[in-house]
């Protein structure tokens, strides 16, 4: 890892700044790169798209790391690469200190148990033709050798943990509301006692009250089992609530990280600042009185990111050197790191 103060704080509910001798993170990516080939152009040729460009992340035990950024910035790709669901083109992925970047077959299956995922639309992760019991038991059967009795007991226990009834086990996904389906997806994800769950827009499709029930459930599970979350979301108010630390992505790069309170109260990167400023506050008076930064311009093409600082085409503070020189990662007072020439 590059020298950085961005180490996860471990064990505490709400981490403060840098932790001097941080223990081994639960999950870690180093200089991660993911490239897709895009079919483009009249001759049917392909162009490379670097969806993730050399990022570092570490998630501590019992920690929730929020990952935010615009659509297409590479959040899901990061989550999927971390879980080894897609092949990175470069970099390292470690789980509990073990390098899992190149694991295959049986060895990969072994570590898969420790990392699970919850998506925005549980329909895509729950087989519509399977009753709930089968869906939840699938990871149990794959990873653990349970007796019939143990399996039944575990299913009942999981249903209770996510606030559903045992009666629901024999029903099909379509018989449930969006919030209930998300509870089932969570039960399935935590069934095999993973170390890390990647939640990719897990509450984005839900109404606020249902969303809050799911967020409270995720917090309860973490308090009980010490699980870690990579929490990908575009709703910044939700991220402020649930995350201990936050990383902000822009065009495949991480432009800022930091403890949640510091990052929201004193954003160091102009993009973070603009992002926070664009969230409308649910109070007409406060919204009226507030200074807002409205960015001009569009998000650049990810296949052809701008040189220098990739935010320079939309940055209100752009300087000449921003157009040519890539800003280095710099520590931020109060915790975390930023990549911006203003802070160099």
């Amino acid at each position: 890892m590059t020298p950085s103060v961005d180490r996860p704080a471990v064990g505490t509910g709400k981490p403060t700044a840098a932790v001097a001798e941080a223990p081994v993170p639960v999950a870690e990516v180093e200089d991660l790169d993911v490239e897709f080939r895009l079919r483009r152009g009249p001759l049917g040729g392909t162009v490379p798209l670097r969806a993730v460009r050399g990022i570092d992340l570490a998630i501590g035990e019992r920690e929730t790391l929020g990952l935010v950024g615009e659509s297409g910035s590479g959040k899901s790709t990061t989550g999927r690469a971390l879980l080894r669901l897609i092949e990175p083109t470069g970099g390292r992925i470690r789980l509990d200190g073990q390098d899992i970047t190149a694991l295959r077959g049986e060895a990969l299956r072994g570590v898969r148990r420790k990392m699970q995922m919850v998506f925005q639309d549980p329909y895509s992760s729950l087989d519509p033709a399977m009753v709930v019991a089968e869906s939840i038991a699938e990871p149990l059967d794959t990873h653990l050798a349970l007796t019939r009795a143990q399996r039944t007991a575990r299913l009942a226990e999981l249903m209770e943990q996510v606030g559903l009834s045992r009666r629901h086990l024999n029903r099909y996904p379509y018989e449930f509301s969006g919030g209930q389906r998300q509870r089932i997806a969570i039960a399935r994800a935590v069934a095999v006692h993973p170390r890390l769950v990647v939640c990719d827009e897990a509450v984005s499709a839900l109404d606020v009250s249902t969303q809050n029930q799911i967020l409270n459930l995720l917090e309860d599970i973490q308090a009980g089992s010490g699980i870690s979350y990579l929490f990908i979301a575009h709703d910044l108010a939700v991220v402020r609530h649930i995350a201990h630390r936050v990383a902000v992505m822009y065009l495949g790069e991480i432009v800022e990280t930091g403890p949640t309170d510091r990052l929201f109260d004193r954003p160091a990167h102009p993009y973070t600042e603009a992002l926070l400023s664009a969230v409308p506050l649910p109070s007409p008076r406060r919204q009226r009185e507030r200074e807002r930064i409205v960015l001009t311009g569009e998000v650049p093409d990810a296949a052809d990111p701008p040189p220098g600082c990739s935010f320079h085409t939309r940055c209100p503070y752009v300087m000449q050197r921003c157009r040519v020189e890539v800003p280095a990662e710099t520590p931020v007072e109060g915790g975390g790191t930023v990549r911006c020439h203003l802070r160099g």
Partner: protein, 353 residues
């Protein structure tokens, strides 16, 4: 590129009291039914609201509360065979739209009233250049030559901030980003200078930075041309940002209606208050997140009396009985606001400040 400090509009005087003295759109006692396996079910039950000239009115509520059905009813776009407007009226500048012949309604739509939806790709034809699609709308309603209609298309594309509009008019919808496509939709909706635009979750699919741009654009367009906007959303932040007044829907009914400052500062319906309390705050962590117990009832199984009573923290026995007819009627309150709560005069509810 400059950091622009823009303020949301002050509450407009145009529609202070329930649409003001000169409403351009009046929806009254609208009842809509849908054909389902279980027979005809009522999904909108006596929806009333009005919109003043140039006013932006938000319709807000959880999913399934009837926001989209309301906007489709106003536009006359409900599915013809499986739905019916069984009661009520929609008047646009005094002209009744309910029951209007399809031909005539098609002439009104796009001209006097137009719409913007969440996913512009469903309203834009992928096979035609955007300039031609806008020109087609202009010609249909305003006549004139193809050439002048095309010129008009370029003009409105320029107005909504599409750079190099003359060239971009020749692009196809998929050649635009999500935010730019929504600008194209706004251009199309504004092309004939309608009196009212119905926008159903127009920014829900957009990133916040792009949403802020589109909201600013809608605000500017509405101000400059005096266009009234009905803004449908589930996001209380967006309502606070862009609306003068808001209508809160629950289970197919309007439960509260007020000027936004009043609504947020001092909600008068427990459902509005519960929604506000549940909003996670960008400004900080506040312990455990609030939830509303239970969930929205489905059409066909609406609770007796007050439809919110099984979830309401303030419910008492008489909430189950309702008013004389077993329903709870809207109460008109001072300041041009209203609430569908039996206990409205007994309760003091917390808002967002």
């Amino acid at each position: 590129m400059t950091p622009a400090s823009t303020g949301a509009p002050a509450p407009s005087t145009a529609g202070g009291a329930a649409g003001g003295t000169d409403p351009v759109l009046v929806v009254e006692d609208l009842e809509v039914r849908f054909a389902t396996d279980g027979g005809w079910l009522t999904v909108l039950d006596g929806v009333s609201f009005s919109v003043g000239r140039g006013e932006t009115v938000g319709i807000v509520g959880e999913s399934g509360s009837g926001k989209t059905v309301t906007s489709l009813s106003v536009l006359g776009l409900l599915p013809p065979h499986s739905s019916r407007i069984t009661r009520g009226s929609v008047r646009l500048d005094g002209v009744e739209l309910v029951g209007m012949a399809r031909r005539k309604l098609e002439a009104v739509r796009g001209d006097d009233i137009s719409m913007i939806f969440q996913e512009p790709m469903t309203s834009l034809n992928p096979a035609f250049k955007v300039g031609d699609q806008i020109a087609e709308v202009v010609r249909r309603h305003r006549g004139g030559s193809w050439r002048s209609a095309t010129a008009r298309a370029v003009e409105v594309l320029d107005e909504v901030g599409i750079p190099d509009a003359a060239r971009r008019a020749r692009s196809f919808p998929h050649e635009f980003s999500g935010g730019m496509r929504q600008r194209v939709m706004i251009a199309m909706a504004m092309a004939c200078r309608p009196k009212v635009i119905i926008a159903d979750e127009p920014t829900t699919a957009l990133d916040v930075t792009i949403q802020a741009q589109v909201l600013d654009l809608m605000r500017t367009m509405s101000r400059e041309h005096g266009t009234a906007v009905v803004f449908v959303t589930h996001d209380l932040g967006v309502v606070a940002d862009i609306c003068d007044r808001a209508v809160v829907m629950y289970a197919g009914q309007v439960v509260e209606q007020a000027v936004v400052d009043d609504l947020y500062h001092r909600p008068r319906h427990p459902y509005t208050a519960a929604l506000m309390t549940a909003m996670p705050q960008l400004t900080g962590r506040s312990g455990r997140l609030a939830t509303i117990p239970g969930r929205t009832p489905a059409p066909g199984s609406m609770p007796a009396g007050c439809r919110f009573h099984p979830r309401c923290a303030h419910a008492v026995d008489r909430c189950v009985d309702g008013d004389a007819d077993g329903r709870v009627e809207i109460r008109e309150l001072a300041g041009g606001r209203s609430s569908r709560c039996l206990r409205v005069h007994e309760l003091t509810l917390e808002g967002t400040e």
